[in-house]
């Protein structure tokens, strides 16, 4: 470490250090503040109502003191699962395309396209979904705003995440594997599925985790196209309401218990994300044996 040679320099440096430490502490404290306030606002309801009612009440009807979150939880999980299931192969294959099936110039063009997709704000996705996709689905099967609409829009939104992360993972696959595979006379697709994808596995899993987190947390787009009916959907064409949309819709006018209930759903969301991170940790630990 460096030694300052005058006492004023030393004093300045100590001041700087403490200033920086203060700033860093503030930055570090934010997440704690968030958790604190979520719990603070939610506690009155917990004390009144207990935990099980969030899953066993007849429905979500805060005005009549009913707080069942299950329909919204189902909505979130279904929309997330469906979109991740579709976006993951599309994204990984997009990355495979850029690396192995096209000259670098076209690959760059496609990458720029994907980056463009990534830069479109969720409210614009939701808007387009509302005015273009929903009427189209309505023609096939009313009403239009539905689980399907939410899945399709969300797929488009999380695709760039998995595509760009996969792209980076594939780039880091050791060239020795490629040469070795070529020297053994393996075809391109055989090499990709047999050697490259297994070698890039941990990066790809990270990408899936990231896109799932994004899907769970998405609010505006699903709010605008899912129909927001409080129900557990029975078909793709049924409208749903996600936890995030629930909060966004009702926060403006919610008071007391209703408001507290929304903060509870905020905590549930954080819980889902934490679960996801835990799963990611577990998966990554399995890599190091």
């Amino acid at each position: 470490m460096l030694n300052s040679n005058t006492s004023s320099q030393r004093r300045n440096e100590t001041l700087l250090l403490w200033l920086l430490r203060g700033l860093a502490l503030i930055s570090g404290a934010i997440i704690l503040l968030i958790l604190f306030f979520l719990i603070w606002e939610a506690i009155p309801l917990f004390q009144q109502v207990g935990l099980s009612r969030f899953f066993t009440d007849p429905s979500w009807h805060p005005a009549s003191n009913e707080f069942n979150l299950t329909p919204m939880l189902a909505g979130t999980l279904l929309v997330t699962a469906a979109s991740v299931l579709i976006a993951t192969p599309l994204g990984i294959l997009s990355a495979v395309f850029c690396h192995y099936y096209t000259p670098p110039a076209i690959a760059q063009l496609y990458r720029r396209l994907i980056e463009l997709l990534a830069g479109i704000p969720s409210v614009v996705y939701g808007f387009w979904g509302l005015v273009v996709l929903v009427p189209l689905i309505n023609r096939i099967h009313p009403p239009g705003p539905s689980l399907l609409a939410g899945t399709l829009i969300l797929t488009l939104m999380i695709l760039p995440t998995i595509a760009l992360v996969s792209d980076a993972s594939l780039a880091s696959v050791a060239p020795e594997y490629i040469k070795g595979a070529a020297a053994l006379g393996l075809g391109r697709w055989a090499m990709i599925r047999g050697v490259v994808l297994p070698a890039a596995r941990s990066g790809l899993i990270t990408g899936v985790i990231l896109e799932t987190g994004r899907a769970i947390g998405e609010t505006m787009a699903v709010l605008m196209v899912c129909g927001n009916v409080v129900q557990v959907p029975h078909s793709l064409f049924d409208p749903v309401r996600t936890l995030t949309a629930n909060i966004a819709l009702e926060m403006a006018y919610a008071v007391d218990n209703h408001r507290a209930a929304l903060f509870v759903s905020g905590l549930v969301l954080m819980g889902l994300i934490a679960l996801l991170v835990a799963i990611a940790e577990l998966l990554n630990r399995g890599q190091y044996d």
Partner: protein, 296 residues
């Protein structure tokens, strides 16, 4: 030691068995690419097509009329600018300071360093609606700021912080150690080294982080709808409620019947701004990379 069994084996032919799977793979990959490209072009084309007719100088400089169905978006642009301004004004000192501490003044083992890193990682995973809840509870209620530009800006600052810090850290990491060593050999203080030498050298990372954060903030809606509110008049102070552009699009799309055409126009403006920002980020990142290689 070994013996070779020159045993007979069916000489594989390089024909049917894998040829079809190779061709199938090519078809699959190309159809994915065409699907994705088609979807994007459809979306962008639609926005462009419907928005182009509405966007004009007038649109950008007049007040909204008739709940936004007519008129322009001037106050909304001003509000957006102010919210972003507050966000940046708060997050830059906080973010750069934290990044400097993490990059230059702490080891990976110190408890402060580990705590801050961990909490920033957690912060990066928080969904935007939860930021909205937090902002509403903390800034609007507890600190008494109510629905205001200030509340919105502060909330966005919290959201943008991890992005800014990560990128700035990278910027510092990219500065070669030789700089620090020569400065030390010359007896320069840490403060002077930081201010005169390291910060300017790490500037590209900082700017990239700033632009990334900016892009994220401009696109944000959920965190703003109940922190900065919905009011679409020209704001008079930071404590006034103000409507951001993304919120305006949301309102026109969902709550105002007949508001589609102006929603398209606003969406076009928003997307254009974001494309420009992302373009700058890409260009800067490339310049950053090249200057490192050439030692500029």
């Amino acid at each position: 030691m070994t013996k070779f069994i020159a045993f007979p084996v069916r000489r594989p032919t390089s024909k049917a068995p894998f040829r079809s799977s190779e061709l199938g793979a090519i078809a699959l990959v190309w159809s994915v690419v065409l699907l994705v490209t088609g979807a994007l072009l459809w979306l962008l084309g639609d926005i462009f097509w419907h928005g182009m007719g509405q966007v004009s100088w007038e649109f950008l400089t007049t007040e909204p009329l008739n709940a936004g169905r007519e008129g322009g978006i001037a106050p909304i642009l001003v509000s957006t600018g102010l919210i972003i301004g507050v966000c940046m004004a708060v997050s830059i000192p906080l973010g750069v300071g934290t990044a400097v501490l993490l990059a230059e003044f702490t080891s990976t083992e110190s408890w402060l360093g580990r705590f801050v890193r961990l909490s920033l990682d957690a912060l990066a995973g928080v969904p935007s609606i939860v930021f909205g809840l937090f902002g509403n509870a903390f800034f609007c209620k507890t600190l008494g700021l109510g629905f205001s530009i200030l509340s919105g800006g502060l909330t966005l600052a919290c959201m943008v912080l991890p992005i800014l810090i990560r990128s700035t850290q990278e910027g510092f990491r990219a500065v070669p150690d030789d700089y620090r060593r020569s400065a030390a050999a010359l007896g320069l203080s840490r403060t002077a080294t930081l201010w005169e030498l390291l910060l300017p050298a790490a500037m590209p990372g900082l700017v990239v982080g700033l632009l990334l954060g900016l892009g994220r903030a401009i696109a944000e809606t959920a965190a703003l709808i109940f922190t900065s509110g919905y009011v679409d008049r020209m704001p008079e102070s930071l404590l006034d409620s103000g409507r951001a552009l993304s919120v305006h699009i949301f309102d026109l799309a969902m709550n105002v019947s007949g508001g589609e055409s102006h929603a398209y126009a606003s969406a076009l403006v928003l997307v254009t701004v974001l494309v420009l920002i992302n373009g700058m980020v890409a260009w800067l990142a490339e310049w950053f990379r090249k200057s490192r290689i050439l030692g500029v």
